[in-house]
Structure formats: C-alpha cells, structure tokens
Symmetry: C2
Subunit: 466 residues, 2 copies
C-alpha cells in the first residue's frame, strides 16, 4: 500500500490555523515540516493562501521550498510576491535553479528577476546559461568554497565556518584548492580538514582530483555515472583550461539517474519521454507524444498486411495456418524485445561496447537457437497432441505442427539476433540505442516473421495442403 | 563511443612492473589508481598476480578494493591470502559486505572468517544477518559516531577526529545523538558542528530526525526513495523501539536506485531479472531466465490460436480479414504497453496511488478514444485509398475498411484501459506491478483484440462478405 505523503497529515491543521489567523502557530508548524513536503503540499491550497504560507517560511526555508516547486508555481510566486520578498529569494536560490527560470520564464519575468538580482549573480547565471541544457555545466552550482595551497588547515576551517554562517543549508563535503587563474589543483574533504593538525599546509593534505573532475560540457548522464561509479558526494566542474567553474553534488545526480531511467523505461514502453508527472502533463500534449509513437509503429505494422497479402492464395487453401499467425509473430517480437532490453541496458551500464558485437552475436545466436527450439518443441507438442483428440487442425496436422515449430525456431532466432544487434548498430551510427525500443524491434520482427512463417509453410506443405 | 575504463590505461604498465619485479614502483602506481578501477581491472591478471597486486595495496586501500570485487573474486582472495592479511581485511570491511559473505560463501569459508574476526564484529554481522536481504537493515553500516545530549560541540569534534584517525575513508556526514538504551534522539551534521560555538551543548544544536529515520525492516527500495526525496547523504536506521541500529549512506542508495531501475527495465522487456553483468551470467542460467518468460508468454499466446479457431469458417469466406490480424493486435498491444509503462512508472514515483484509479480510468478512457480514433482513421484511409487503385481488398473494400477502423478504435481503447488499470489492480492485490510488464499486457490484449476484431467483422460484414 502506498502511504500518503507526509504533508497530508499536516494539511487539515494548516487549513485550521489559516482560518483562525493563528499565524505564529502556523509559522512554528511549518518550521517542523520538511521543505520538500511543503513544496509538495503547497498546490493543495488556494493561491492567496500559498503566498501566505510562503511568506511565513522565513528566508532560508523559503529558498529551499522554492527550489522544489514546479516551474508554474515558481512563476506564480515571482509574479505575486512583493519585491522585498523576492530579492533575497532570487539571491539565495542555486545557480542552476535561477538559470532554469531565466531560460523558461516569459521575457517580462526575466526582466523583473534581473532588476531584483545582484549584478554578480546575474553574471554567474548567464555563464551557466551558456552550457547546453543536458550538460554538467547547466546543472552545476556556483556556490562553493575555494582554498589556496598555502593556507593552513586552521585557516581553511575558518573559511568553512564563515561560509556556513552565511549559507546554513549548503551541502559542503569537499573544499577545492585552486592555483593561478582559478585552475583546479586538488580537493580536501571536510573530514580530512578536521582530522588534520591545525598548522599543516593545504598543499600537504590535499588530494589531486585528476580523475574525478567533470568537464562542464560533459553530458549530465555521463557525469551521474561518474558519481555512481566512484561513489562521489560532490565533484568539481572545470572548463577546457582546467579552471574551476562550479560543483556538482550527489543529490542533483540522484535526480539525473532517476530521470535517465524514467526516460529509458518510457522509451522502452513506446512512449516519447514525458518530462512531467503523469497527472500534470496536459491531456493533448500526452496524446501528441503517445499518438506519434503509436502512429509510427502503426505505419510499420501496415507492412504486415502487405506481407500477408503475398500469401493470400495459399491462405485461402490452408486457413489453418492463420490460427498461428499471432503466436508466431508474438514469439518473435517477445524474444526480440528481450534481447534488445538486455543489450541496451548492458550498453548503458558499459558492460558491452561496440567492440563486443561479435561476442554478443555468438552468444545471442546460441541463445536464439536454444530458445527457438524450446518454443518450437512446445508448439509442435501442442498441435500434435491436440490433434489426437480433435480434428481442428485437419488431416495434415503433422505437417502443420512441423511448419509451426520450424517457423518458430527461425523466427525466435531471427528476433533474438535483430533485437541484440540493432541497438549496437544504432549506437555505432550515433543514435541513442534506447530508441531501438522493444516495440520497434517487435514491429521489425512482426513483418519479417510472417515472411519466414509462410515461406516455411510453402516449402513444407507443397503437395499436401497447398 | 563508449570510452575504455580508466584501468585500461594502467594495465600494460602494471604488467611490465610485475614482470620486472619493480614492486615499489608498482605500489606507488597502485596508490594513484582509484580503488574502484583497481577492483574492475583485477580480473585481467592471472590469479597469482591478483594476490600480489592485492598485497601491495596497503591495508586501507585493500579494504576499499575488496568491497568492490565480485563475490567469486572475494572468495578466491579469502581462500588464498595468508591469515595475517585477511584478519585486518575482515575487520575493516563494512558490516553489510561481511554479512553478504557470511550468507553466500560455503560453510568452510565462513568458518575461516569467524576464526579470524573479532567476536564483537561477528556479533554485529550476525545482527545484520537477521534482517531480510531486501531490507534496509541488511544494507546498513554499523560503523558510525554517536554523541550524547550533554556533550559540547568541542568534545563532539574531538570524538569525530578520533574516529577519522582510525577510519580514514569513512563517509561521515551526520553524527547521531542517542539517549537511554541507545534510543535515537537527533542528529548533527559535521558542518553544523564546525560552525557551532565550541562550548554549546549537543542538545541545543541537534535536529530531531523524526521524519527522516529509516526502519530496519523497511524495504531497501523504499529507503532509497526517502533518500532521493529528501536529498539525504546519510540516515539513521532504527528498530521498533527507536534504537539506533546502523546508518545508511547515499552511495549505497545510488546503487539500490540503479539496480531497482535495471530490474524494472528488464521486467518490462520480459526478462526475469539478471543480477549479473551480461557477459558474466552463465549461458544456461540466462537461457533459463529468458526461456521461462518466453514460455509463459507463449502459452498465453496459444490462446490466440483458440480465439481465431472460433472464426475459422468466417475466415475461409473472408480471407481479406486475415491481412489485418497482426496490425490489429499489435496496435492493441502497443497502446496497452504504453499505458502500462506510464502507470507503473508513475506508481513507482508515487505520482499515482490506488485512490487515483478513477482519475486514471477517466484519463485513459479519453486517451484510448482519441488514440483509437487516430489509428482507426489511418487504417480506414489506407484501405479506402489503396482500393481506388488496386483490387487487393476485394469488391467490399468499404466494409473491410470500416471493420478494420472500428475494430482498431475498440482494440486501442481496450488496450489502453487494461494496460493502465492492470498495474493498479495488481498493486492493490499486493503483486509488484512491474510484473504486469508490457509483454503481459500485450498478450492479454492480443487474445481479446482478436475476439473484438472478428466480432466487429461478423456484425458489419453479415450479408456482404460473410
């Protein structure tokens, strides 16, 4: 049973406090609820109450709540809050959140934001805006603590303390050491600093970060893979000249990992990626995304009518073959999607690269043969045994059983091979292999599977049924 | 193009150093490679060289590398290393890794381990072993730092420093505050401690952790969701009496999230979950897992032969209907998988709960109608227009076009509804909705779609073709 979001528990109480105008009590209650839950529950209140709740949050927490809101809710707040509330808010939100607002909000909001924000912050945001949306640069935070090699552990901790007084809720795990021109030299974890003798120099305790820095232009999903592989909490983002541009933290990367997998799963299910929660996607936007894929697959499947059309004369003579059309094509489609799923996933996890195509081919050829034989044997037995009791498959039931089982063997083998190799070929051509999703492989195998089936039938049934 | 793992760069150099017996240089080189990369590359060396490399790592790094190895490699090392190397290793590995070894290794290894490990560590490991494999308790680490409410910030930092001297590479983000009987009272982040005045008492700066603690019996995937929702770096694990039992850290949770999604994707592709990398799964184990699913789906699809069998007489008269069998069933199957994908994913992300079934039904009914009309219109046009130029669909092509398009409307509507509601119903029955994977929905819709198709045909073509 899915449990209700924690905010549900508080909603009646918040409603009551608002009604009774007990704003001090409301302020206290709100301070006990996690900002993420407040953000989730905010839309349950009428818009003027949202403003009231938001104003009672206090400056640090209002920033945390704001970060978690949907774009439309952020827009409403920027539109309706007074300037003296928005200014510190805009100053406090992380660069990546501000950059997203700059990019997606209508012109007049951006204008309002730039008037209220400090010049330095705007420059930083514009810097982040120059990176493509899918890059690590677009996701980096520009609030971080830098040290120089000549500082001592003591003075480094003092700098950390000063920063923590200003930004209480910042996730600070590593402090970065820079040299001339802002070039990144190394990093020190907070824990290392604490354990170090106070007078030791930064140069003597810092670690080089040569392998674990992220290029600002790196794809954010690749950056997330670096985080997960090396179990990072934070990582420095650098430009081509190794200058420190910002940092990435694990909480943002967890989101990237989840979204990447959502995209993979949706592509596999034959849906263009929905980037909003199910109920929040506007109906016709959803229809458009789903309809496009269904139509593309539909047009592909129309070829099955053409394929069967070639064999219309034979079908009229041997209607019994029709009974197994869905069984044959679905077996090919299922084995193909299965192989595609395994290979796409293994490529995403870098277990398979292009150089492995020959190993994959050999393994999948063997798999296809074995799986095809299993299903073929099942099919043969079903038809053969059934025919001992009924006459549904006609007098030539033995040849029908043979046709179906041999066709199954070839169709499953063919499905397995195309399902496993298509993603590798697509990757080689520079196409995201996740678009070689299960339904596409299935459509390909449906059409070719029918041709295999009727060809086997023509060959084996010549002289008996045909 | 997938780039090679970083270890590839070092392998030739390591080989050369081993050959020349330059062990000091090798030790230095190894100290510059990330432990995770060493673990990845270890299997590229002959087993006696693996032992050599492992021994050159030094005690802290050998523990880090050991953690990352496959079970079979861990087993080999425990079998072949001298006791004086294994003892500190076993003492140093995290509880969850030790617990996994205890659970999966053969009896004699476990005996060897228990002889070499300290009694206290064995007790802790056995405690962890009591929790089910999928629970947070089985994954928790038991190395953490506890404070009491009467300690000062200064003495807390001193305790932290002492711990960091013993375990250099521990991820310590939060220190936990316990009261009588080990009950959990709150937590303080390292950053809060650093920023606090030295003489302030822990009770005055700690945060209550009421919402953000994890029950030891909680499913680990649910625990990972708490981490991702609240952007946690670490969280305390408690028993029913709120006693602190261990901690979970974000790096382990990232792994849980990735594995959960791999499982989802594999289930959606109609593969039983492979819990090892593609090339490492033994061939017949893979065949067994894939074969089982294909056979189950195959047996389901056999019903399509039965369904078509009911209409055999009609088919003999109207062979033209056969041409569209694959098109009809695949459209139903695709729209069903699409809806199932969206709903399963939305349930996993808690966007949809059982209470929403009516909203989902209404939305999917509307979606199904629109999508079905689109595909139906496509189908009608294709048959109608084609028939202006060829005679492939016979003299009654208008009725054929009408049959196909109306059947498409119903089949897509039906596919969408069953695809979206089946996962919700399964979840309600306590079954993991991911098993209502796309292929299963497709199989269900294949069989019922045929019945819809031929029923529409019977109704519309009575008197013309039939």
């Amino acid at each position: 049973m899915p449990e209700p979001h924690p905010i549900e528990i508080f909603i009646p109480e918040i409603r009551m406090l608002i009604q009774n105008k007990q704003f001090d009590e409301l302020r206290n209650l709100l301070s006990e609820i996690n900002p993420i839950d407040i953000a989730d529950g905010l839309s349950r209140f009428p818009q003027e109450q949202q403003l009231l709740i938001f104003k009672l949050l206090g400056s640090v927490r209002s920033i945390e709540v704001f970060e978690e809101l949907d774009m439309s809710e952020q827009q409403y707040l920027i539109q309706h809050l007074e300037d003296q509330t928005i200014a510190p808010l805009l100053e406090g939100i992380p660069t990546d959140v501000a950059a997203k607002l700059f990019k997606k909000l209508p012109e007049r909001f951006v204008k309002k934001m730039t008037i209220l924000m400090k010049k330095e912050k705007i420059e930083v945001v514009q810097n982040v805006l120059e990176y493509p949306a899918k890059s690590a640069g677009a996701l980096m935070q520009t609030e971080y603590i830098v040290l120089t090699v000549d500082m001592t552990a003591r003075s480094s901790i003092e700098r950390l303390q000063a920063s923590l007084r200003v930004r209480k809720n910042m996730l600070i795990h590593t402090l970065y050491v820079i040299g001339n021109n802002g070039k990144l030299l190394g990093g020190i974890t907070v824990n290392t600093l604490i354990a170090a003798p106070p007078d030791i120099k930064v140069r003597d305790i810092m670690s080089p970060v040569s392998l674990l820095k992220i290029s600002a232009k790196m794809d954010k999903e690749d950056a997330a893979k670096v985080f997960s592989r090396y179990k990072l909490i934070s990582a420095p983002v650098v430009d081509e000249e190794n200058r420190l541009m910002g940092i990435l933290t694990v909480d943002d990367m967890v989101e990237v990992i989840q979204n990447a997998d959502t995209e993979d799963i949706q592509r596999f299910g034959g849906v263009e990626v929905l980037d909003e929660p199910y109920f929040k996607v506007p109906f016709f936007k959803m229809i458009q995304k789903r309809g496009t894929w269904l139509s593309v697959l539909f047009i592909g499947e129309m070829l099955t009518a053409t394929a069967i059309g070639f064999f219309e004369k034979e079908i009229a003579k041997a209607v019994v073959l029709v009974l197994f059309i869905p069984l044959i094509i679905s077996s090919g489609g299922n084995s193909g999607s299965q192989a595609a799923t395994l290979v796409v996933r293994a490529m995403a996890l870098k277990e398979i690269s292009f150089g492995d195509w020959w190993r994959v081919l050999r393994r999948e050829f063997a798999s296809g043969l074995v799986l095809g034989s299993i299903l073929g044997a099942f099919g043969f037995l079903r038809i053969f045994l059934w025919s001992q009791f009924t006459n549904v498959y006609g007098p030539h039931y033995f040849f029908v059983a043979l046709t179906v089982s041999i066709a199954l063997l070839f169709v499953v083998l063919w499905g397995t091979l195309s399902g496993s190799l298509l993603p590798i070929v697509l990757r080689r051509l520079g196409v995201d292999p996740a678009v070689a999703s299960a339904p596409f492989v299935a459509t390909l195998v449906d059409v070719t599977g029918l041709i295999i089936y009727f060809s086997v039938g023509l060959f084996l049934l010549q002289g008996t049924l045909l």
